[in-house]
Amino acid sequence: MSQEQYVKITIWDQNETRKKDVDVPLSMKMAAFKKASKVALKVDAALPCRLQLKRTGTDMNDEDTFQSAGIQNNDVFKLMTNNPGG
C-alpha cells in the first residue's frame, strides 16, 4: 500500500494577523481544508470564505485536492471573508 504524501503549506487569515504552517495530505479536498482553516484561524464558521493561493492569486475550487490543484511545498494561502451583508 502506498504511503500518503504530504505538502507543507502556510495559511494566513485575511488581515494577516494569524497564520498556521501545516502539513497537508495531497489527497485532502480544498473544501475540507477551508473548513479546518476557519477553525485554526478562529474565523466565524458561519461566514463564507474564499481560499486564495498567493502564488497565482486565484480562488481554490472546493472539489479540487491539493494534488489536482498542483499545490507545491511552501505554497501560501490566504483565507478571505466573502462578506454577505448589504
Partner: protein, 483 residues
C-alpha cells in the same frame, strides 16, 4: 475672483472624464440597505443621469446607523421610495425610478437590458444568484458588493467577457448549502419563518465598499473597462490598514449560466400587454397549436388533496411556504402539487393573463413551437404609474393636504401600487379599484387589511373617518370569514 457656475467643474477637470456619459448613463441599484444608500449617494453626487432603485423592504430603526439617506421619520416607509426622494434632493439632475418589489418579480429583463451597469447591494446568496442570472441574460455587467463589520468585498461580473467567472461559477459548497437551507427537502418549498442570518456591519465598511463599487462603475461607464478585471473579487480590509487584495475567481466548466449565453442572440422581441393571455399572444404571433411558453421559474399551478379539495395556486414554487402546502380542509401536509415551468396550449394557464401568472412589466419570455422560438416582452402601465406617482409628489414637494399617499399590495404581496387618494374616498370604492388594478375577479371575496393595525377595514368608512395616515399600507386578503 472667477467662480465657476458649473456644478461638475471639479469632476470635469479630471483627465479623460466625461460628465456627458454619466449624465446619459442608465444604472440599476438592487438593494437599498447600507450599501445601496452609499452607492446611491455617490451616484447622485456624480450626476449619474438615470437610476432605478429596487427593494421590497421597509425602513426599520436599526437601518438608521448605516444609511445616510434615511431619517427617523422614514421608519415604516419603503426604502426604495425614500432613497428615490433623497437622491433627487441631493441632485435634481438625476432621474430616479423606485421599484417596490423583489428583483426577480418586479424588474423585468427587458428593462434590465437597457442598463449600462447594475449594482448588487444585496444581503443574501439567493438574491445575488438571481441578479447574476438576470444580468447574464440581459448582457449587463454587475458589480457585487458585500460587507461585514471589519471588511468588504467588491466583485465584477461581466457577461460580455464570457470566459470570466460569473457569481454562480464562484459559489462554493458553503454557499449552495446556505441556499438549500431556505428550501429544504423533500418538497423544496420556502421554509416558514426563514430569515437570512443577521450580519454585523458598519457605515465604515459600507462607505469603503460602495465607494469602490461606484469607482468600478464610473470606469466602465466612461472607459468601458475597469482596472478590476471581470470575474475578480476585491477584498477591502477596513479595520486593519492592510491594503486591498484581489482574487481571480474560477469559471465553473458546467456553469448553467455560461452555457445559456448562446441563447442570447439578438432577435425580434414582440411587445405584448400584461393583460393578454398566453393563448391570445400565441395566436397573434401565428404559432402552431402545439406551442409552449417557457416561464422563468418552476411554478406550482395547483394543489390537489386526497380529501377532494383542489386549490388553484399559480405561483412561483420558490414563493410557496411549507405551510401553504397543507390542505386547508383536512390538514394533510402531503397533498399533491401540479408543478411545471411551461404553459402549454393545453394547460388551463394558457387562458390566464400574464399578470395572473405573477409576471411583471418589461419581462421577457420565450415561446416555442415545432418550428419557431419567439421572444416576447410584456408591457404595462402599472409600474409607470408607480414611478409617476412618486415623481409627481417630488415635483410639488409635499403631498396635497386633501390627499394622502397609501400603498396597496395584491394577495400574493408580490405586487404593489402607490397611490394618492382623496381623504373623502370610501374604503369600499378603494377596495373595488384595487381589485380592478390587480385584475382580481370581482366575485372573489376580498378583505382590505390595514397593515399597520393588522385589522380589516370597514368599507363604509372613508380614509378620513377610518383614521388612515399618510404612507399607510393595505393588503388585499382573500376573505375566509364571509365579511
Amino acid at each position: 475672483m472667477f467662480m465657476s457656475d458649473d456644478k461638475y467643474d471639479r469632476l470635469k477637470r479630471i483627465p479623460n472624464w466625461s460628465q456627458e456619459k454619466l449624465a446619459q448613463a442608465k444604472v440599476a441599484v438592487f438593494g437599498c440597505g447600507a450599501l445601496g444608500n452609499e452607492v446611491l449617494k455617490n451616484l447622485a453626487l456624480l450626476g449619474v443621469g438615470n437610476i432605478w432603485v429596487v427593494d421590497y423592504d421597509t425602513i426599520e430603526k436599526h437601518n438608521l446607523t448605516r444609511s445616510v439617506l434615511f431619517r427617523e421619520s422614514d421608519i415604516g416607509r419603503y426604502k426604495a421610495e425614500v432613497v428615490a426622494e433623497r437622491v433627487k434632493e441631493l441632485n435634481p439632475d438625476s432621474q430616479v425610478h423606485p421599484i417596490l418589489g423583489k428583483l426577480e418579480f418586479a424588474f423585468g429583463r427587458g428593462l434590465l437590458r437597457e442598463m449600462d451597469v447594475a449594482f448588487g447591494c444585496l444581503d443574501g446568496i439567493g438574491a445575488r444568484r438571481e441578479l447574476n442570472e438576470r444580468c447574464y441574460f440581459a448582457g449587463v455587467p454587475w458589480i457585487d458588493g458585500g460587507i461585514g463589520h471589519n471588511s468588504g468585498n467588491v466583485a465584477l461580473f461581466d457577461p460580455r467577457v464570457s470566459e470570466t467567472a460569473c457569481y454562480q461559477c464562484a459559489m462554493d459548497n458553503f454557499a449552495w448549502e446556505k441556499l438549500n437551507e431556505r428550501y429544504p427537502c423533500p418538497r423544496g418549498y420556502l421554509q416558514d419563518n426563514y430569515e437570512e442570518a443577521k450580519i454585523a456591519t458598519t457605515i465604515m465598511t459600507a462607505s469603503v465598499t460602495a465607494a469602490y463599487q461606484v469607482e468600478v462603475a464610473v470606469q466602465l461607464l466612461i472607459r468601458e473597462e475597469s482596472y478590476l478585471q471581470p470575474g475578480s473579487q476585491l477584498f477591502l480590509p477596513v479595520t486593519i490598514p492592510k491594503g486591498f487584495d484581489t482574487t481571480k475567481l474560477n469559471v465553473a466548466k458546467k456553469c448553467r449560466i455560461h452555457s445559456s449565453l448562446l441563447k442570447k442572440q439578438e432577435r425580434e422581441i414582440h411587445k405584448v400587454s400584461l393583460d393578454n393571455t398566453p393563448r391570445q399572444v400565441a395566436e397573434k404571433i401565428g404559432l402552431s397549436n402545439d406551442w409552449e411558453l417557457e416561464l422563468l421559474f418552476d411554478y406550482v399551478f395547483e394543489f390537489t388533496c386526497s380529501c377532494g379539495y383542489v386549490e388553484t395556486v399559480r405561483k412561483p414554487k420558490k414563493e410557496i411556504k411549507e405551510s401553504e402546502a397543507k390542505c386547508p380542509q383536512c390538514g394533510n401536509s402531503r397533498r399533491a402539487a401540479i408543478e411545471g415551468f411551461r404553459v402549454t396550449s393545453q394547460s388551463e394557464e394558457a387562458d390566464c393573463s400574464f399578470f395572473d401568472l405573477g409576471l411583471c412589466e418589461r419581462e421577457i419570455l420565450q415561446y416555442v413551437d415545432d418550428q419557431l422560438r419567439v421572444d416576447i416582452e410584456i408591457e404595462s402601465k402599472v409600474q409607470e404609474t408607480v414611478s409617476d406617482s412618486v415623481a409627481n409628489r417630488q415635483k410639488v414637494g409635499l403631498p396635497n393636504p386633501e390627499y394622502i399617499t397609501v400603498t396597496v399590495w395584491d394577495c400574493t404581496t408580490n405586487y404593489s401600487k402607490i397611490v394618492d387618494v382623496p381623504l373623502d374616498m370610501s374604503l369600499g370604492d378603494f377596495k373595488a379599484a384595487a381589485k380592478d388594478v390587480f385584475n382580481l375577479d370581482a366575485q372573489i371575496p376580498i378583505c382590505l387589511r390595514l397593515m399597520r393595525t393588522g385589522t380589516d377595514v370597514n368599507t363604509q368608512d372613508t380614509f378620513q373617518t377610518a383614521g388612515i395616515q399618510n404612507n399607510d399600507q393595505f393588503e388585499l386578503v382573500v376573505c375566509t370569514t364571509g365579511c
